[in-house]
């Protein structure tokens, strides 16, 4: 143990995880920048401004404010971003603080920067001001989700300062990519299969590739779960799973579009659970289930139905999408993740390749096919106006959008990965990965100590030869 300790100390000397200057500096400087930029650019929009009362059309009552028709969806998305993603990343035995805590930090920063970036691209008025409302808040949460997905690949291997940098660039890239896909290519992507999931996942995987750690197995004893950390992660899984219908319907058109998006997502996710369980069981000894698959692969159907959720995918179509993704995603955890690590040097802590990257690409393809197959008989003369172009052309645009998302993800990830390789960010040594000790004051685990201490005291005091003490309540961990 002494040897191990001095080795660890040596590593610490090589890799300095002291972020006492850099983290506060980044947080304070960036937050002050946000205040200044918000002061210059951000204003309430018409529906959230106090002038609304006098300016609103006379035949509209206060309860027709869009707040009432978007806010419940916003809150569901908000829960997914903070509790869903946050708790999904608590599964590691000794990185739960980092999982949920850093998720909290970068989401809180990212949403501010997203309001600005998305505002400049989408909501800049003639007066040079950005108008925000509940719709902007949903979009900001969406934008942040892309960066949180990327964090999943890097969980336990980067410093919070690196995560802040990742988020700054990630949000920026996201806003540009989103503008190209939605406003230049005119592709539809209500649930963000391409814009959010494909981009976010490849962004994270590319960064992970740039930050490859060949000797990571040193800390492999910490790269796993314990019983209770797996239960914590299920909180994240379930809140993501339950609220995904809100995610995919949150920014679609009012009326049948939102209604249909929720139904499609609900069905796709239900189907995914069954095939994820089936594949997990068939690949384990005695048919035992693996918590990694239940926590992650069960969500793949929500990702894959994102683009097409508002389309006339049909209920059975949603089930089919979910069916395929549950199988593919679980197989990904079994075969592809080890392959990526071994042969492509991509270390993917949470397996985002299986949960976001592949299903995201599938979602883009499903969207392209569904759009290309659209017809007025299915959508009606009004409904078909959902698409800007005739079906075949729209399908092409959808496919183009998928390529844009991939390029931005991979290209941006390589760029940002290069920046994050600079030796100034306080990232942990291989030996300290997946360990909250690097960045958190971790409480001592007093619980398990007393029993052993009690025993030791006893051993010192007694002549063990005649020892006949029994296990009474005092020697239990919790006296």
């Amino acid at each position: 143990m002494g040897a191990s300790q001095s080795f660890r100390a040596m590593c610490d000397r090589e890799k300095n995880t002291n972020i006492r200057v850099s983290l506060p500096a980044v947080c304070i400087v960036w937050q002050i920048s946000m205040i200044i930029l918000f002061g210059i650019f951000i204003r309430y929009d018409a529906e959230s401004d106090a002038h609304w009362l006098e300016k609103k059309p006379k035949n509209i009552s206060a309860i027709e404010n869009d707040f009432y028709f978007r806010y419940p969806s916003f809150q569901d998305v908000h829960v997914m971003v903070f509790v869903g993603f946050g708790f999904l990343m608590t599964f590691l035995k000794r990185y739960s603080f980092g999982g949920v805590g850093f998720n909290f930090l970068i989401a809180a920063f990212g949403l501010q920067w997203a309001l600005l970036m998305q505002g400049w691209f989408h909501h800049l008025g003639d007066d040079g001001k950005i108008s925000i409302n509940v719709y902007s808040m949903i979009n900001a949460d969406f934008c942040v989700a892309g960066c949180l997905i990327a964090y999943g690949a890097l969980l336990g291997k980067v410093s919070p300062v690196q995560l802040m940098v990742l988020t700054l660039f990630g949000v920026t890239l996201f806003a540009v990519e989103e503008y190209i896909i939605l406003n230049l290519i005119y592709a539809k992507d209500a649930g963000g299969s391409m814009v959010i999931h494909t981009f976010g996942a490849y962004y994270g995987l590319a960064i992970s590739w740039m930050l490859y750690r060949p000797n990571l197995d040193q800390s492999s004893r910490l790269q796993g779960s314990v019983y209770h950390s797996d239960v914590f992660a299920m909180i994240g899984t379930l809140f993501l799973w339950m609220f995904w219908p809100s995610f995919n319907s949150a920014i679609t058109e009012h009326g049948d579009g939102q209604h249909r998006a929720a139904i499609n997502t609900y069905l796709s996710l239900a189907s995914t659970v069954l095939t994820a369980v089936a594949v997990s069981s068939v690949f384990q000894k005695h048919g035992k289930l693996d918590m990694v698959h239940i926590q992650n692969a069960t969500l793949a159907g929500g990702v894959a139905v994102g683009t097409a959720a508002e389309f006339m995918l049909m209920p059975y179509g949603s089930l089919i999408v979910g069916f395929c993704c549950g199988i593919l995603s679980t197989l990904g955890y079994i075969y592809i993740t080890p392959f990526l690590e071994k042969h492509l040097k991509i270390q993917d802590t949470c397996g985002i390749h299986n949960l976001h990257a592949m299903p995201g690409v599938i979602g883009g393809i499903v969207g392209a096919i569904t759009a290309a197959a659209a017809s007025e008989s299915v959508y009606g003369t009004e409904g078909i106006k959902l698409f800007k172009f005739p079906p075949a052309q729209q399908g092409g645009h959808q496919a183009g959008a998928l390529c844009v998302a991939l390029c931005f993800g991979i290209g941006g990830g390589i760029l940002v990965g290069a920046i994050l390789r600079l030796p100034i960010w306080g990232d942990p040594a291989d030996d300290n990965c997946f360990d909250d000790e690097s960045y958190w004051e971790v409480p001592e685990e007093e619980e398990s100590i007393p029993a052993v201490m009690q025993y030791n005291n006893h051993m010192r005091n007694k002549d063990v030869a005649e020892s006949n003490f029994t296990m009474d309540s005092d020697t239990r961990p919790r006296a």
Copy 2:
């Protein structure tokens, strides 16, 4: 230890928990069946179809889509089904994976089958198609809740394959029973005291009676909680408790009916908490509270007010219902559950008899009395139309509905229990009950190991020349 192991191995030979063929087969075959049946039968309804835009009445705006007035309630019910029921069943020290995970699996399957079964009975159009919308999704979640309640009695004693069978038959029985109660008898049961809780609970109890295990005390060391598993269970309790007003109001008539149902449930549940605490305290040494009562009995008021929630029960009436149920349910945990196990051979892991069966029956009776006591002076000329029949007759129909629920629950449970006794389902031996090891890859508890390993190292280095014991899996904290 060796003896124990060989005994356990012997049991394992007798009872084979290998579900590597059966579980995947059931999941895949049933999911493919769902896809085919959905392809044949299930379509979007008018409000979720893309034709809505052109077909909707001209004076209706997009924000009057029923989606906006049911979806928040749906999401609350959804949280109750997956997080509420799921986490309530994590209280066992070593069955948290099975509690929350199998709940997830059977709910995801059940809701698909429920959409079909309930659709055939309630929403089959002239064209032979079932139209689904957000209202159907709420009803599917309700239907699933019945099966999850039944799972509570069997927690830790059945295999996931058995649970899938239980759910298939449970949903089928539920749909028939619901059709009889609502559409033939014309009883009212907005919150499902009879349709969901009474049926589900007696269905589970009857199955448990059929699957009686006389030697279950062998695994009694696992049939309890640890500190943190009790806190996990409180997540389930609280989400059930908080969202119960949504549960009881989700499918009532728009307007005052939903409003009143939420208020009544809110009040009844508040009252239950106080009496559950009171009875829990008075029956323990030093007045200490028992987590089992706090986790479960505090919810009884929500069950018992289910049928009458939309009636003019009056606020004080709701308090009285909650008051009585808190007392009765807690007494049930103290006296009736042990009695059922000892004398009636019904083993009820979660005590669903106290949380769902008794309060469900009370709810049915309260509903019958309240309906029989209805008058035009209390309900108004429009409000009284809530009931199809004159008050006294309606009261009789309500009582009849309760009998139907009881018969379907007990009869169906005996039937399904007989099927589940077949020795083909991979259920665990008595010795392996309440243990996730049977069906899950459980992570090793590394945390507690170092102390022992350290000791072992020490022993090897010191003069213990004859010592040759090694650290095998049996000596680990979690054998």
Copy 3:
């Protein structure tokens, strides 16, 4: 251990925590009182009464019932009160049951009493009846929140009977204070910075001062967290953080007011996270983060923006408020809490002074300044009617309201503290503070025992007379 045990037994004799008579008696008597008072006073209001269908204006449809525009906000607030506050208080290693359980108990009682108290002051009709609806339910939850804040200062040091007394008086004082502030002074306080947070926090701190325990350090080994209890507490933190926009907007005017309140709170909270992290990091060795700060100080921005949330605070103004509060609140945990304990004899378990008291006062001041700075050019001719008085005068009224909240909090706390000092409430001895054993049946921690038992068995069998190994830090389960 024997000596320690007899000492503990002696303390127990001095301080009798037996509440087997008092707790049930209080619960039952008070609940029966609630039933009687509800029977006399509480009725459904027009929108939740069955007569609504015939009495409602003809041009209003059922979906314009206020239920649909308040209920989602109500549910968010409800989650904050029961899961948010409840789980935030699970952070102690051995008081999680008491944290979440007693929170549950007093909230369930408090909301009934609040419906009565607030009803008498605000909703008493000419017929002497109180009409309740979803709006009343939100207000009742708000009222309860004040008492739960107070509980935070006393966590682990009081008996549940004392908490019931605290809640009875707290709700009573709250209703009077609220009436004075809103209906006599005509101050605005939508999110309750003054009415809820300032009042609740000083009420709790004053009680804690009255109940000062000079020898509390005896139980200091339990006054900390363990790894998993900190993760549980993050559930509370995140649900509070996410739903705070609903809290601050729940009872504001329909339309732009609610919309703006949600935006302002969303932004203020985001800003707080970054500065709380920055200050936490800069004050720890190696820049490590402290979970206490992340769990609590990140919420201060929501408190501080409460009063002004519905005002035209402007997005950058919200960020500034959050910025300052994140810094101040974290510094409070580092410097002020120890100071209060040492020099002012105020023991504040959860640090409510930093999370609620200071930010609440800041919120009141921000509200006064913002109101005083209001102008028709910013608010519009209709919007400015939000305030009853001209801006400067309104600012004065706001400041006056803050003083009222402070006086009621401190004065009421001293009064109630004096009552709670009576030796009849079953509060724990210093040695038993922060320990669930006093009031809960705590499950035995079987998990950690086998290792020690195994070891003991081994020791009995082997001759290790010369054994003198000691327990150093390396042998602990988590080095």
